[in-house]
């Protein structure tokens, strides 16, 4: 598309090198006005908040306990050293969530009466794992399954390897179980969001159910589900910190350990900064993609 990002965007698409119309002029003025109001409003709001916080009676305490510069300098590099653990757990988990979530969604979408058990399974599965707090799932899977004592020793699959009972194995599995329930629902809503006439058209052309799904429904659904999926993965990036309950030392666990030893909460602020540095670019990416998607699918903006 040759759509430029500027003012022409909202008028009729790509009128090449057209002189700005009166409407364009008006729109530009409106935007400028909106921007200056936004600046004033922002300054006023933050000014008031800053005044309120810094003049509160406990502010000096908050400063030493939560925003202690010396502790921050000392703890930040130490905590940052564990960032890789969070990123690695995320990368190991995300692909399996996509696959398993898709599988559950497809199970739920079957129409053949013989496959009713699959549909029932998918419905119960999503109800269950969306209903149980993730942290409980992690606790129960991470400590409970190894407790069965079914598996001993080590495993090696491709480049993965480790102890069968390792929290590094069961922690991510618990996350996959829980998150794929959400992701399956996202997929399902995407699939069901494809208009019934598309299916009808495909079937009338002689495609089977599975062919219809593969060639007509899924490709259209996939595009719709990307923004909500990215949202879920953003949330996953933070939720890997929950695996610390299984003993895994990552950013959050390292920060709370230092907090417990020193009685100072600054390491938690450092951990928050680290997570923000990780998730803000991801959030921007999701926003950018969502906007692009909206423009592409022809949704218009109201000023």
């Amino acid at each position: 598309m040759t759509n430029d990002e500027g003012a022409g965007n909202l008028s009729a698409p790509s009128r090449v090198a057209a002189r700005p119309t009166r409407r364009d002029e008006w729109l530009r003025r409106q935007r400028r006005k909106a921007a200056s109001i936004a600046v004033v409003s922002t300054v006023a709001t933050f000014g008031a908040l800053t005044w309120l916080i810094t003049t509160s009676s406990g502010w000096s305490k908050v400063k030493t306990i939560f925003f202690n510069a010396d502790r921050f300098k000392q703890d930040f590099p130490e905590i940052l050293g564990y960032l890789w653990v969070d990123v690695k757990l995320f990368l190991q988990t995300a692909p399996f969530i996509l696959l398993w979530g898709m599988a559950i969604a497809l199970c739920r979408n079957t129409r053949n009466p013989v496959l009713f058990p699959l549909r029932a399974f998918a419905a119960i599965y999503t109800d269950f794992f969306r209903g149980v707090p993730i942290i409980l799932t992690i606790y129960l899977v991470g400590f409970g399954i190894p407790k069965l004592g079914l598996l001993h020793g080590d495993f090696h699959v491709l480049w993965f390897g480790g102890s069968w009972n390792s929290p590094y194995l069961w922690g991510p599995i618990a996350l996959v179980l829980a998150y794929s329930a959400y992701v399956a629902e996202v997929f399902r809503s995407g699939i069901e969001g494809v208009h019934e006439s598309q299916r009808a058209g495909a079937r009338s052309l002689g495609l089977s159910h599975s062919q219809t799904m593969r060639h007509v429904v899924i490709p259209q659904a996939a595009r719709r589900v990307v923004p909500p999926l990215m949202n879920d993965f953003l949330s996953l990036q933070k939720d890997v910190a929950l695996l610390s309950v299984l003993g895994i030392i990552e950013v959050f666990r390292r920060a709370t350990s230092i907090k417990d030893l020193t009685g100072n909460f600054t390491p938690l602020v450092a951990a928050a900064v680290i997570f923000l540095a990780l998730t803000i670019p991801e959030t921007r990416l999701v926003d950018w993609y969502t906007n692009r998607q909206r423009r592409r699918t022809g949704g218009s903006q109201v000023v």
Binding site: F143, K147, H152, N165, G247, I249, S257, L261
Partner: protein, 303 residues
């Protein structure tokens, strides 16, 4: 005479200084800080190293010393729940202190109190109480403590036939999967001193660490010796404390002191008694005998 006092004081100072980070708060409350009446050297000049002279007239009953302990008292602190026998760590420490204070044999009376009423400062039936009372600032608001008679070492615990059974030195632990409760000196000890090859684990609590040990998710738990002894004796069958780390390896844990009623003048006398026992090596001998040999938790060598 005077030089001996200085030597004693210096020894006590060294002992405290050797106790690592945690002790900085409690070493502020050396006898000089606790005795509100007179500067330390005046006291020393008046009574010399004679704790008995100091104690004269300061006990509940003039001709006897009343010592309290828990009900029941248990090994290795008191053997067979008979504190008067001198068998067991705290029993031996108490009798040694009593002797320094000038009380022996029938002049030492024992009473029992609960842990909770003692730390709440609501007991008045004894001269001092000992049942593993950790010295801390909160408790000091309502009771007084002597200088520490024990500083808990870090120790390593696992199944009798587990991978840790042959450890004799600190470096033997590098290859083990180690776990500790998060936010404890034990975790810091693993990260800073042991520096294991495999990722260590930090659990929410000792209960989680025990589950992980039972699940074969970790090979050994690092905890302070008293907790380790309790876990192996009471909580998980088939485990034992493989060894304790020398105090100069770092990671010193809780310090225990004799508990006295708030601002009891006898406090400074017990400090003199403990300093004498430290200087003569008797306290170290008692500690080795009951917290080392008796518990069969050998001190691991440092390299």
């Amino acid at each position: 005479m005077k030089r001996q006092i200085f030597a004693t004081a210096a020894m006590a100072g060294l002992l405290l200084a050797a106790c690592g980070d945690d002790s900085t708060t409690s070493s502020d409350t050396t006898p000089a800080a606790e005795s509100t009446a007179a500067p330390a050297d005046t006291v020393a000049a008046a009574v010399g190293t004679d704790a008995a002279a100091c104690a004269a007239g300061k006990t509940l009953a003039a001709d006897s010393l009343t010592i309290a302990t828990g009900d029941p008292a248990f090994p290795p602190y008191v053997i067979d729940d008979k504190p008067e026998s001198g068998e067991g760590f705290e029993s031996a420490v108490a009798l040694a202190v009593a002797k320094e204070l000038g009380f022996e044999g029938d002049a030492v009376k024992w009473v029992r109190t609960s842990f909770d009423t003692a730390v709440a400062g609501s007991d008045s039936n004894n001269d001092f109480n000992l049942q593993q009372f950790t010295i801390n600032d909160d408790r000091k608001l309502v009771v007084s403590f002597s200088d520490p008679y024990y500083t808990a070492n870090q120790a390593v615990l696992g199944y009798v036939d587990g991978p840790g059974k042959d450890v004799t030195k600190l470096s033997d632990l590098k290859s083990l999967r180690l776990g500790a409760a998060a936010g404890t000196t034990s975790l810091q000890f693993i990260l800073d001193v042991i520096k294991p090859d495999a990722e260590p684990f930090a659990f929410n609590s000792n209960a989680d660490a025990k589950t992980a040990l039972d699940n074969d998710q970790i090979d050994a738990i690092v905890t302070d010796l008293p907790t380790g002894l309790y876990i192996s004796a009471v909580e998980i069958e088939g485990t034992k404390v493989f060894g304790q780390f020398p105090i100069d390896a770092g990671g010193a844990g809780d310090q225990w002191g004799l508990l006295l009623s708030k601002d009891n003048p006898l406090t400074e006398c017990t400090n003199i008694a403990l300093a004498n026992l430290t200087a003569s090596g008797e306290l170290a001998a008692i500690t080795d005998k009951w917290m080392g040999e008796w518990t069969q938790a050998p001190t691991l060598s440092k390299d």
